[in-house]
């Protein structure tokens, strides 16, 4: 699995240069407009965008047939799946740490509430885990050629979510109330459970696939 992680790290450098600055910029925007509809959209973009990194690695591996060659290396077939889900966890963790650091910086300057902090701290990793597990599961089950539709749909959903939330009239006050409620903490728990279940299923699906 170490070999696959290393290959993904080398191979996705170009993607990292695109996705990481984008995710960081969106996170900064989300925090600067904390607990508003705009904040929600920016956080969604940051989380889902970063969550796509392992999915893109898996797609590139399939395109270059590295997925097939990797199966001839020592280690079981599931190592390719485990590596990508670990990458998704690492990305979600890194984004959370970055968000927390921004909050600390904002706290030092004043002008934030615990509710806002709690909302973004829960929301960001949850969306990151949900989006990456959804797409990774689809790619493990269907292969990149057919599963990449999930990748496109997720990206489109993220883009459309801001507009939809505005159309539905999600008010700043309403979002602030939700952010303040304890229910927001259930988000990462539910996302974590979904992520774990998809991980297990993906390993099984991938075992059955002929590469």
């Amino acid at each position: 699995m170490k070999a696959i992680l290393l290959a993904d790290l080398y191979g996705s450098r170009k993607n990292l240069y695109i996705y990481i600055p984008l995710a960081m910029a969106f996170m900064a925007l989300a925090i600067s407009t904390a607990a508003t509809v705009t904040s929600l959209t920016f956080a969604l973009c940051a989380s889902a965008g970063a969550g796509m990194l392992p999915v893109v690695s898996m797609g590139s591996a399939e395109a270059s047939h590295w997925d097939r060659y990797a199966q001839t290396l020592p280690g079981g077939k599931a190592q390719a799946v485990n590596a990508r889900f670990l990458e998704a966890l690492a990305v979600a963790g890194a984004l959370w740490v970055y968000g927390t650091a921004l909050f600390c910086a904002k706290a030092a300057l004043g002008g934030w509430t615990w509710a806002e902090a709690r909302f973004l701290a829960a929301f960001v990793p949850a969306i990151c885990l949900l989006s990456s597990s959804l797409c990774l599961g689809a790619v493990c089950r269907l292969g990149w050629a057919r599963g990449n539709i999930f990748f496109c749909v997720t990206i489109c959903l993220v883009g459309a979510s801001g507009a939809v939330s505005s159309l539905l009239g999600v008010s700043d006050a309403g979002l602030g109330n939700f952010a303040g409620s304890a229910a927001v903490l259930a988000l990462p728990v539910a996302a974590g459970a979904f992520f774990g279940a998809v991980w297990l299923l993906s390993a099984r699906w991938y075992e059955k696939r002929e590469l």
């Binding site: 170490k2 070999a3 290393l6 290959a7 080398y10 191979g11 450098r13 170009k14 590139s60 591996a61 395109a63 270059s64 047939h65 590295w66 097939r68 060659y69 199966q71 001839t72 290396l73 020592p74 280690g75 079981g76 077939k77 075992e207 002929e210 590469l211």
Partner: protein, 281 residues
């Protein structure tokens, strides 16, 4: 111990079936898998590597049954697939680090010496390498962890004759160790003729024959004669024939032709072509 053993290995793909493949490769030997495009060579190799599940039969590689978990065996396997399959964005140097992370016995010095000897650029991305350099990189990767068995799918395809010659020499050196074996598929039969101890002919998913190369060359010969002489031969003596406007060239069993008949030695390529043509008649 046999390096590879298959018993009745079968795989169906739509209109193609690899049917009842029985191969035995003793340790320390090289077996060449010969066949036209679509004969089933790659399917056989993928089955042996556990990349594809068989529909019937069984196989062992280095004594271990082929299946989803071949962890211990894979440490001793060196593999070159027909398209190599390294990540497109990685350089040879980075690929060395990736493979070092995968194999316990990885020898970085040996890998670098192969790259140097075969003139593979170390800082170019894999996707930017020529087909020949990709293949050379794949071969360096397969040889640098002291594998006991090499499974090579068309490893000399795309290489120029000089490099092919060097690569064939490297494979020859690899099997100087009696514990090391090679299964190699190729269209370039002359390479296999030079290298292999055993030859297996695949045609339309069926194994036409699998024998020691020297025995094949001893057992069969080419008889140049006229049609009347050919028809006078015992039934079963002729395995294949090529008609020319003036005479007939027939692949015959040496022990089935009358003493005194002038036979010339058969090459593995001729043997394969004549057998396949006969099968297609």
């Amino acid at each position: 111990m046999n390096a590879i053993e298959t018993r009745g290995l079968t795989k169906h793909y739509g209109d193609f079936t690899l049917d009842n493949l029985n191969l035995t490769l003793p340790s320390g030997c090289i077996m060449g898998l010969v066949g036209e495009n679509g004969a089933g060579k790659t399917t056989a190799i993928r089955l042996l590597l556990g990349l594809t599940r068989p529909d019937g039969g069984s196989a062992t590689v280095l004594g271990a049954p082929v299946g989803p978990d071949m962890r211990a065996v894979k440490e001793d396997l060196g593999v070159v697939l027909d398209d190599v399959g390294y990540p497109a964005g990685l350089t040879a140097r980075q690929m060395g680090k990736v493979l070092a992370a995968a194999y316990e016995n990885w020898d970085t010095g040996l890998y670098e010496s192969y790259l140097r000897d075969m003139n593979v650029p170390t800082d170019k991305k894999f996707s930017e390498l020529s087909r020949g350099n990709k293949m050379k990189l794949g071969i360096a990767g397969a040889l640098s962890h002291r594998a006991k068995l090499l499974i090579l799918d068309e490893p000399t395809g795309g290489l120029d004759p000089v490099v092919r010659d060097e690569v064939v020499d490297i494979f020859g050196q690899f099997t100087r160790d009696p514990a090391c074996s090679i299964l190699i598929s190729s269209h370039i039969v002359s390479d296999l003729e030079r290298l292999c101890d055993y030859i297996a002919f695949l045609h339309k998913g069926k194994l036409l024959l699998c024998e020691e190369k020297d025995r094949l060359l001893e057992e069969y010969g080419v008889l140049q004669c006229d049609r009347a002489a050919l028809e006078a031969l015992a039934p079963g003596a002729v395995l294949g024939k090529r008609l020319t406007p003036y005479s007939v060239e027939a692949l015959v069993r040496r022990d089935a032709v009358p003493a005194g008949a002038e036979l010339r030695p058969v090459t593995i390529e001729e043997l394969f072509v004549l057998l396949v043509k006969e099968d297609m008649r």
